[in-house]
Symmetry: C2
Subunit: 336 residues, 2 copies
């Protein structure tokens, strides 16, 4: 492994001079700069960033902690985050918590021991509070994306889940639906609570009473909620529409309904939060409240980097991104 000293020897200068050439600091005569440059090339020298990190106390590594890169929302978000990180000269690590606080804890410990300069964090739930506090205690800047955590003060990039849920529900009501079922993420997750609130708000505004029987909380992970749907569809007053709180759930719901011999939207309408990626490119089917996923990532990264650089004002900033209702084929008037 060739070091700065090898270069120094070859160029007949001190290590310090080489360091200055690499980092463009201090004054160096053009002649020595050239000498050093040549020596570096001849030796194929590559600076050891980790050694530098140790003394300057910054790694230029950032961490992106999400629930599942496989969810198109997070896929695109990750791309936005990586693009922004790269632009500012940071490397990006990532981890999938799978909505699991234990996994999340492991990642936080990893992140801490890696001494990353900051974390872009999509919390698994309210229980993430501990993890965030730990980051704070160790002076690791972080920005929360997608979900809030009660008790945590920091920069945030959030979607307006309540409005999105309201739009989706109002849309179903305007089509004539009166019995709408909700399959939701864990109530330990802020977006699930907000989506529930928006859902109820829209119902009440139209004089409809939310039916506790038609409200379930399965979590955001991909599942096929067979039993739940059987139960619902066996009800005397069975639902004519299902509001799935995220894309994964919508897919599970649709598959189950079809397995039960029911078609969407003829028998049951289905709408959800978040788009489906490529799906919507050729066979737009699901009516969704789409969120600007890329911006979640790039904007979050920007806030994070400004915070790290100390360019941010002391007050925390909160960016709220609006969802867009996209009406497609999965929602239609109920059978009369």
């Amino acid at each position: 492994m060739t070091t700065i000293y090898d270069v120094a020897r070859k160029a007949n200068v001190s290590a310090m001079t080489v360091s200055r050439v690499i980092n463009n600091t201090g004054r160096i005569s053009d002649k020595t700069r050239m000498k050093v440059r040549h020596a570096m090339e001849e030796l194929h020298y590559i600076p050891n960033f980790m050694a530098r990190s140790l003394v300057v106390q910054e790694t230029k590594i950032l961490s992106l902690l999400i629930t599942d890169i496989t969810n198109p929302f997070f896929t695109t978000l990750a791309r936005g985050a990586e693009d922004a990180a790269k632009q500012f000269g940071y490397r990006l690590m990532f981890g999938n918590s799978d909505e699991d606080l234990d996994k999340e804890k492991d990642y936080v410990d990893m992140v801490l021991s890696t001494r990353v300069d900051g974390v872009l964090f999509a919390p698994a739930g309210d229980g993430s509070l501990t993890h965030l506090q730990k980051l704070a205690k160790h002076n690791v800047p972080f920005v929360i994306i997608d979900r809030t955590v009660p008790g945590v003060e920091c920069d945030t990039v959030l979607g307006d889940s309540r409005t999105g849920a309201r739009l989706l529900t109002e849309h179903l009501i305007s089509l004539g639906h009166r019995r709408i079922a909700l399959i939701n993420g864990s109530s330990q997750v802020s977006t699930a609570r907000d989506r529930y609130a928006g859902f109820v708000e829209a119902l009440k505004q139209s004089g409809l009473a939310p039916d506790p029987q038609l409200s379930a909380e399965t979590g955001y992970k991909p599942i096929e909620p067979r039993e739940l749907l059987s139960r619902w569809m066996a009800l005397p007053a069975k639902p004519t529409a299902v509001f799935a709180a995220n894309n994964f759930l919508a897919i599970g719901v649709i598959r189950c309904l079809r397995d039960m011999g029911l078609s969407v939207p003829e028998d049951v309408s289905v709408v959800c939060f978040d788009d489906l990626g490529l799906e919507s490119a050729i066979n737009p089917f699901l009516t969704v409240a789409a969120q600007p996923a890329y911006t979640f990532g790039s904007m979050g990264m920007q806030l994070l980097i400004e915070r790290i650089r100390g360019e941010a004002a002391p007050e925390y900033r909160s960016v709220v991104l609006q969802p867009e209702l996209i009406v497609r084929r999965s929602s239609a008037p109920p059978r009369s």
Copy 2:
């Protein structure tokens, strides 16, 4: 920042003893181990992995270099890679080359200066040779996934592009298509060459002559090849089917066709390599040669880690994963 020395002082032992407790090396009496553990907890001590890296010459960081995390194939591959990395105690960085050799070069330099322990590499093209040689010269182990690079010897995890292309083409021929157009990735990419070969092979086997007019090379990135399709569809002997060499291209093709007032598959059949992620979950439309993306990632990671640990045999290993033909609605017999 609390260090190993702070812990040592608090526990009335030497730094070395603390180090041994952390790494579970050497013999330590239970009593001192306990003393040290307590001191660590009281001080909220977190080992500095980067400092350790400097002396043990390993960072426990791996790098995943792909073309675009947004492509469902790479999304799932990334998940497989991350899961495997985590399982073996590695952190994972990632970067998107966008099929661009210049971008790729920047990432390789980043990776080198970060002193990662290894790289899982999906080359942008044959020109990646230089980058791979650079990694090799600096003794960074790497495993190539998805694409080969002529002149590079290393562990690989590949798909059988030729067979996949053959299956897809044979399928179209068996439906009765005689004029099949190919829209392909750059011929600088091994999979594009292999897919072309499989395509031609299937045609010839059925006594069909590949028509150079019906073969185009646009690259794998998402585009809407409007002009190309106009040209093709204006031909006296216009194609009745299009073979898109990847999912992004298929989407672009379908959108253009529809814009032109043509429907798939009634007017033109479309098939492609790689599946579309969530798309296929609810509205399976595209006939595809699907590849086991998750396995590409997890298997690649496994080979990489074995290589790093020196557990691998000196000969390089090559895993070839078979694609699966999934016939769906986008392909049908040509209009008679």
